[in-house]
Symmetry: C2
Subunit: 320 residues, 2 copies
């Protein structure tokens, strides 16, 4: 019965895009004459590097908010033009990628909208997708195309120096077009990411936000919390927490070292998804807490056996 059900189930993400883009990836030549990147942190600077290396665009123009960041990016020579003027960066660009924290999207779009080239494709790299569409779509001038994208890749480091061309290789890039999105624009963005080395999948923004809430947002929230809890301990223990971090805590500190602005914006902009998963987690934690208090070893053992199987599934899916 269960087997039958599984066989009937359609995958929510479309494989079509992936196949098409893998084919396209073999074609040479730039996809866009001019690409503009708004923001040049870990993700933006990695896009600049891979786009140049793989000859995905003819020219790269960068605008970033802070002068210091622009100066750093300029020194790295990862783009053809780097400045703080967003209008200048986008005005002749065929492909504009917003690489800012998702909370900045509305303001960025309001600023660049009057200067966008007719027919330009606007994309982003945000870890939430419904909020991106909510903030960008209404500010999009007619004749422009919004193709929201999320390269599921990153490290705990930030800034233009932290980027590298291989960041997206073998990682997922999830594209979440709306029913209105121009399919030719979707295909171009999919090709771009496939040639960055990513496996491209297409799904709805709503579905994306649900999946990422549990696979990414909740783990980050928990890591931040547990590291915070540890730093609130009495002094005599706190110093030793750092010393003896090897037992599991260390993995959490790496996750909890991720960019604060980016993650604040993720939690505020996938509020429903995160709160729903957090509520479930709290319930499950409470059940475990009770099992420990009352010495119910079987309940613990059953859960731990079940979770071990998940790791095997991951290894089978070549995700570990």
């Amino acid at each position: 019965m269960a087997k039958k059900k599984a066989a009937k189930k359609k995958p929510a993400a479309k494989k079509v895009v992936k196949k098409a883009t893998k084919k396209a990836a073999k074609k040479a030549g730039p996809i866009f004459p001019v690409m503009a990147l708004i923001g040049i942190g870990l993700i933006g600077s990695s896009i600049a590097r891979v786009a140049r290396q793989e000859k995905l665009v003819g020219r790269i123009q960068v605008a970033t908010r802070r002068k210091e960041t622009a100066a750093t990016a300029r020194k790295l020579k990862i783009a053809d033009d780097v400045g703080t003027d967003m209008a200048k960066a986008v005005k002749n660009a065929d492909f504009v990628v917003l690489c800012t924290p998702v909370g900045a999207n509305a303001e960025v779009m309001a600023t660049i909208a009057p200067y966008l080239k007719p027919g330009a494709i606007i994309s982003d790299v945000g870890s939430v997708k419904q909020a991106v569409i909510r903030d960008i779509a209404p500010r999009l001038p007619k004749g422009m195309h919004l193709v929201p994208a999320h390269p599921v890749a990153g490290t705990e480091h930030s800034g233009p120096e932290a980027g590298f061309a291989e960041l997206f290789r073998g990682r997922w890039c999830i594209i979440t077009p709306t029913p209105e999105t121009d399919r030719a624009a979707v295909a171009k963005v999919a090709e771009f990411w496939a040639r960055c080395g990513s496996d491209v999948e297409e799904m709805s923004a709503d579905h994306h936000d649900k999946i990422l809430a549990i696979t990414s947002h909740l783990p980050h929230l928990i890591a931040y919390t547990i590291v915070g809890t540890a730093t609130d301990l009495e002094d005599s223990i706190k110093s030793e927490v750092i010393k003896f971090a090897a037992g599991g805590f260390r993995d959490f500190t790496r996750i909890a070292a991720s960019d604060p602005t980016m993650w604040r914006d993720v939690f505020l902009n996938n509020r429903e998804g995160v709160l729903e998963m957090l509520q479930r987690l709290q319930e499950d934690l409470t059940v475990l807490q009770r099992a420990i208090r009352w010495g119910e070893g079987d309940k613990l053992f059953d859960l731990f056996t079940r979770t071990r199987a998940v790791r095997r599934a991951l290894i089978d899916a070549k995700q570990a």
Copy 2:
């Protein structure tokens, strides 16, 4: 004021042992003529491998509960004698190391006590230490020495095949003697672990259990819970959780793949420590939950900035 306080503070762990053992580590020659290992999983088989490689003992005798495990260990040729008879393994052993899940200690001690060699040193590798003393000390025959130890090392793999000689290299080994413990016995066990490549520290069992509750037990409990929460999701999301695990969840699945029996026993045997830390975590999670619900970005940003600093402290302490 804060600085003065910090300067006055004595470290809870004694550095003395570490220095003494580093010196001792340079001396050659076996520390014990015969070592018995009870249990030959990841930790036991790693001890066998490193003890033989570094010539720390003259002879290695192993007893394990299951015939199949004994057969596997025998095939690996990591010990001089492998069987299921605990009495036989310990009767001429100078150093007996319990490498079983901590919940088995009381029963194992009751079984081996009548056969222990006079003057033998009994040690263990458990991740909790107060419960180990509680379960072993009362069953220890007169003239024997209990030196509880915890090598803070491991992987998510189990069984005799999973072990390797380098597992303990550069990792902590925490020794938690009681005030009654013979100091000569402590020095020998410290030398053993130093020559396994570990940094040896001495502290009270109570202090150990508090530190490990936050650095190891709570992270494992959380990882188990979050992976469990994910596997309880609706089918349409569950299959994609595996697929898109790269965003943070993957790190949790590795931790949550650790040995179920071992971890069940850890939680049941450090109940007070784990429940105390879990309670603090739940409170902190609730505060974050409220901040997300009410859109209080500053609170999130402040925490995330604070936790990022912890990673830096870890890197400075060379623990990352």
